[in-house]
Symmetry: C2
Subunit: 126 residues, 2 copies
């Protein structure tokens, strides 16, 4: 399915870019000035994930958050890194901390979802 460029898609990506954090659908909707339908935002986000533009984090609040895959390929902050959810400022950010584990080979690992929750450094030092 070939993608088309739309104002909606650009707006979603631009909000995520500006925040530098992982954001939920509702957070994105609040940050966008124009009115975009909830379902549409979800569809856009899901497409971006399929295309490897975004990655999806399911936090321990059970909700989905989306972040731009900046360094997902090149940097050492590679495919699998921890995420931090701050309960004070209610943000989720990608940590430079890699996720390490070793399982016997008969496990097939397809997704890694690691969340640390607590108070982020900005909130704890103020």
């Amino acid at each position: 399915m070939k993608r088309r460029n739309t104002a909606t898609k650009e707006a979603v990506l631009s909000v995520l870019n500006a925040s530098g954090k992982a954001m939920s659908q509702s957070a994105i909707e609040k940050k966008i000035n124009v009115d975009i339908n909830r379902a549409t935002i979800y569809r856009v986000l899901n497409n971006y994930c399929e295309d490897g533009i975004l990655h999806r984090i399911v936090a321990d609040d059970g909700r989905q958050y989306f972040a731009i895959c900046l360094e997902c390929d090149e940097d050492r902050k590679s495919l699998h890194h921890f995420h931090f959810r701050c309960e004070k400022c209610e943000t989720i950010s990608c940590l430079p901390e890699p996720v390490n584990f070793s399982l016997s080979n008969d496990y097939i690992v397809e997704k890694v979802n690691c969340i640390l929750t607590g108070v982020c450094k900005d909130c704890s030092t103020s």
Copy 2:
């Protein structure tokens, strides 16, 4: 709030014991022969978590799973371990693999939730 012993609570714990896996409310409800109200099961599970009998895992399907805290204190399979969600057999199990990370001290980590998703060793070797 002092706890009381009820058939419901025992049934929930016994199902979790028998399975040896982490289970969701709906999975528990299906496994219990008697009819127990959904809300009640959730309340029982939440109480067990408060009391340190169970621990709660939020999987990357956004749902809550509950597992018995066997080795949570004594064993090396300590407080923070990985969990594996198999998409074939739809089970979640506690792995003996510990979660390691090092953050700067100004982060306050209160919860650790690490899920690996894929195909478990039972399903991949058959």
